[in-house]
Subunit: 433 residues, 2 copies
């Protein structure tokens, strides 16, 4: 049986999981794939810490370049993270004719154009299944299983930290700050949680999914990103009253030659599969023109689940090298028809949840709905009488669910109501799936 050599860069949590999986399931992998995958070298600056996995003497080195250029290594696995040295090593590997597996969403979201370009030029494979969805094979499904479909929409819960926080806010009625603190203590949120709670991690993943779905490199700066830091428990409770759960959703849509990609806290109907995704779990619902709605659910992070996907990618490349040659054509950007452009954020259409604190006088709701109506936004449901929180200074919460409308129309109406003086604070505007 042919042997394919693997070199690992980055021996952290996921790296240790990959090493453990490759060593313990090596025989199973060779039986399934028809090729023997051999871990040859691991590079990390720290060669002393015990990772809880036994590796042969001499396998661990501080010299990443010696791993990349080892003639017995055909596949380089980058698990360093970030866009500094990781970028340098990935490009060095590609330019040395090595195929690459990476879980580095930030690197791909920010430098995908350059990296995929280099891989295409050198005709090597680059696989990145673990960059989105951890242990869930979303990327594989999108570029292989659904390859016969035009992708209409993708809705994803792609950040476990946010979903953990939102689940506890809803189930226990706790405020954001308190849950965040508990999540940090439990190790579900970083000390600096911004990348997660402000939506950037989700945005990185959304650009990767959108690029695969539509065949062109979607720049991160074209993605409107809204996090959950300012989400109020009041809105979580009102959403529940209307039959919805609030989730941080990546939304990817196409139509009329335009693609929109956004990250927003979004009301999801209770009976929708995505509403059942709780705690640190992730999921994505993908709608293809043939497949209809399909959903993929699992652990979006963690040592073993991420290792599962990394090893699946290694297996694929090993088969490519054994039964043929690299399939660089699978990279992002290859279906670029030049037909798509990004839709401007203000032209996006959605249903909205709007909460205003209006002065408690007859006509405030009427004034607001009239303003919405003037801008073509029609109201599906409204509630003024049910007050969850205490009323302050004669202002009461008014909540409105709209029919689909453009962001522009809704924002114009909200601006009108704000300057009219009948509201006490900036209106809350959330999207509805």
């Amino acid at each position: 049986m042919k042997q394919i050599g693997v070199g690992l860069l980055g021996f952290g949590t996921v790296g240790a999981g990959v090493v453990e999986g490759l060593l313990s399931n090596r025989e199973l992998l060779s039986q399934r794939l028809g090729v023997d995958i051999v871990l040859r070298k691991i590079a990390d600056l720290d060669v002393t810490t015990d990772r809880g996995v036994e590796i042969p003497e001499g396998m661990l080195t501080t010299d990443a370049m010696s791993v990349i250029h080892d003639p017995e290594i055909q596949i380089i696995v980058e698990l360093i993270g970030g866009t500094g040295i990781a970028k340098k090593f990935v490009l060095e590997a590609i330019n040395s004719g090595k195929s690459v597996v990476t879980a580095n969403k930030k690197l791909l979201a920010e430098y995908g154009g350059e990296i995929f370009g280099a891989a295409a030029e050198k005709q090597v494979d680059i696989y990145f299944g673990a960059s989105v969805g951890g242990g869930i094979p979303i990327i594989r499904v999108l570029r292989e299983g659904l390859s016969g479909n035009r992708i209409e929409t993708i809705h994803g819960i792609l950040n476990g930290t946010c979903n953990y926080i939102l689940t506890r806010m809803e189930q226990e009625g706790l405020p954001f700050d308190e849950v965040l603190k508990a999540a940090q203590e439990a190790g579900y949120a970083e000390a600096d949680p911004s990348l997660d709670i402000d939506g950037f991690d989700t945005a990185h993943k959304a650009t990767i999914l959108a690029s695969l779905a539509y065949g062109f490199y979607v720049p991160l700066k074209s993605v409107e990103v809204e996090g959950i830091r300012n989400l109020s428990g009041i809105d979580v409770q009102y959403a529940a009253q209307f039959g919805y759960r609030i989730k941080l959703l990546a939304t990817i849509k196409s139509g009329d030659g335009e693609v929109e990609v956004g990250v927003h806290p979004t009301l999801v109907p209770m009976n929708h599969m995505l509403a059942s995704v709780n705690g640190v779990f992730n999921a994505a619902m993908i709608r293809g023109d043939l497949s209809g709605d399909t959903l993929y659910y699992g652990r979006g992070a963690g040592r073993a689940p991420t290792a599962s996907t990394v090893i699946g990618d290694i297996g694929d490349i090993a088969r490519n090298l054994t039964f043929g040659r690299p399939r660089y054509a699978q990279a992002v950007c290859t279906a670029n028809t030049g037909k798509y452009q990004m839709r401007p954020a203000e032209k996006e259409v959605s249903r909205f949840y709007i909460r205003l604190m209006v002065s408690d006088r007859a006509g405030a709701l009427a004034t607001f709905t009239a303003s919405l109506g003037r801008h073509g936004v029609s109201v599906l449901a409204a509630t003024q009488k049910e007050t969850i929180s205490n009323v302050n200074n004669g202002f009461v919460p008014v909540v409105v669910l709209t029919h689909p409308a453009t962001v522009e129309a809704v924002e114009t109406a909200l601006h009108e109501i704000l300057v009219s003086g009948v509201v006490s604070e900036e209106p809350v505007k959330l999207r509805v799936l």
Copy 2:
């Protein structure tokens, strides 16, 4: 760009969907895959019926052999179904060196050993993604995305007809017969519904999944199959009271070198993702040793969803032929380590839901639980007082949920209670997830 020719056998509902998809999304496919997939010929005995899809003059023939032996065709797609002529054509295609895509679960479940053996000998690809889960890429995920995992369990809702019936029984409180009749009128169930409602369709699919997961050909006769024909609305209601929904589940498990495969109506906890799978939708939850639980959800049947998966398979083979050679090693049975054997049904372990109609006298419940206890079956929850249906002749329903126990122990205890004369009818025994 290289062209790969496709020949289709069977121009029925799914066949027409495949033709439509291949023709309308041909450019998109070629951009994504780096190979041009060309539909060359279609064989069907009926060459006159309008399938609602326009095909070029001369493409349709009654002569399947001329399609199989066309030198410009490299991939044969079998969508005839059944195990008669379909088997003959599939073997003829394989023996002629053609790669095969089939959605024929019955053929694979009954003759998989022969067919996969022939494909391995001739070193051609055989893909069968649409044989399980329709538009959901479950098979692809199992043999590629999760290839680095030991598969611990698979739980699948794999038959849309049954799930539609069970959903309506629960949501509308209707009896089985009435919902079946409605399903037949709505086209969701066949005039002869046995293949679906007696669990055989699910069993066919379960053997395919189990064979892939454990690398040996799991014979259909080793699968214990229980359908939903005799399921009483009383049990659907009791299950709901305990916080469960009843689903027809395929259950695949391994442990201690043994594999068990069964099809049973099973109580699924309301907060489990599989409990949210309603109507004609299908889903499978797969637990790998690395990935943990992952779930795949979508339309398990229908023209376009099934075509989506068939086209994904065609795309894969086309890439194999373009960037390398067939990867016959992916077929079922290739990881056969000889390590596994089937677990005898009576040794299977599960939690159980048991309903008895006991004579309404003090001690009946105590007698029964004592009998369970003697055989090592401990009780988790029991209810005697809540009576949903009318009590007949002094017999009242007693419902018990057990801790995990072997089938053997539960059946022995049930036999004891039956011969003791305190029950009025055969006990109802359902599994609990």
